[in-house]
Symmetry: C2
Subunit: 231 residues, 2 copies
Amino acid sequence: MPVNDLHDAAALPQTTSVTSATQGAYNAIRRMILVGDLRPGEKLKIDVLKARLDTGASPVREALSLLTSDQLVERIDQRGFRAAPACQRNFDEILKLRCALEDMALRQSIANADDAWEEHAVLSLHRMSREDSKTSDTYEDLHKGFHMALLANCGSPILLKFCSQLYDLNVRYRYLAGRSLDYKSRHVGDEHAEILAAAVKRDVGLASDRLLSHYQKTGAFLRQSGLVSES
Amino acid sequence: MPVNDLHDAAALPQTTSVTSATQGAYNAIRRMILVGDLRPGEKLKIDVLKARLDTGASPVREALSLLTSDQLVERIDQRGFRAAPACQRNFDEILKLRCALEDMALRQSIANADDAWEEHAVLSLHRMSREDSKTSDTYEDLHKGFHMALLANCGSPILLKFCSQLYDLNVRYRYLAGRSLDYKSRHVGDEHAEILAAAVKRDVGLASDRLLSHYQKTGAFLRQSGLVSES
DNA sequence: TAGCAGACAAATATCGACTTTCTGTCAAAG
DNA sequence: CTTTGACAGAAAGTCGATATTTGTCTGCTA
């Protein structure tokens, strides 16, 4: 299973059976960073992770190298690795870029619309809605799955990868702001449904507006509830 | 020296003194892929690279993992690494994305314009023009340096990294099409100067037009001269 | 003759030990 | 009292060897 699998992002929750130790370490560390278990800027010592994941040093090092792709880990030559720092400025940048790139991707995706894409998007929304526990990890996967499904038809794998990366970076800030805050006082379910409805109607402008508004609202929400601004 | 150093992209040609074996392997393999020494889709066997670079397996593996970030290498779990494939479709995608993202970056860069940025861009052009051998490696570095210097002031490190990646991916296609073809029958020097002039005049629209036209011309040029289209 | 099973060869992935580099502390000098 | 230098501990980086996996080739069977 390739590391960067974009197209299956909306697939069923992956079997946790992991083929290689590197892959397992990659998943585990990625999750720890996204969830905030490893704090922004924190030094990632090989020995510590090695013990925590019960693996050798090689898989850990390689996983960390791979996580550099996702901008979740910084590599400092001869000085090891650290979790990517977080700050208000960085958050704003991510939000802005996300809006720009996803807008682009969504428009292209709708322009190329076909039945398979549409049905996949509908299914993704359905699966997400069905999952009631909004704090669970699988919900996060399904949520990402839905958003990626909307963009999946844009015909540009590289653009998709960028969007996927930015999504993850953004998710981390959600957790940093306190996972419980998010989604509480808002009707995100409705927002998702409305975005999908516009997309299904092939209304590019409306879909894009709704998507961006969705992100801006979430962004304002997070900003207001105070971001962690360490290192 | 960090692997992902965007801000110094236009700095003087880097000292070749390499601190870590991984870093050395990274640079060497990256160059081999960009230049076409390692063909698209080619299997990258650890033993072979290990011997060729006179290093251990660990640095090679880690370098390959890092090159995954740049989309220059594909990692297939339990099946090793291979150089990223190349095809017409991929080239078109890169060109299109590049135009979109660099347009964005250039506009922001000019919007934030200040003296330091402007002078850095002027210097970068000068250094590139001074280098007469247009085929040498250092010219390639200076050329990238100039283009990145134009964008450097956009205030978005992530966007810059994306542009840098796309630049590299594009460079590879230049080499694939035959390094000598490029730049031969065109006055790229003039085009560069004109882009810079527009940027210095803070004429956002003109600068963007000229930049995109520059890329489109190069793109058409490469497309016409026939791309390698092997898996 | 086509297809499948098993074994052999090659290459990847992983481990554990060794070397190099960094970091923090403590003492001596300015 | 601050600063500089060296030493010791810790951590990163690297190497060589081993274990697992994959791909291929052969030979048997229907």
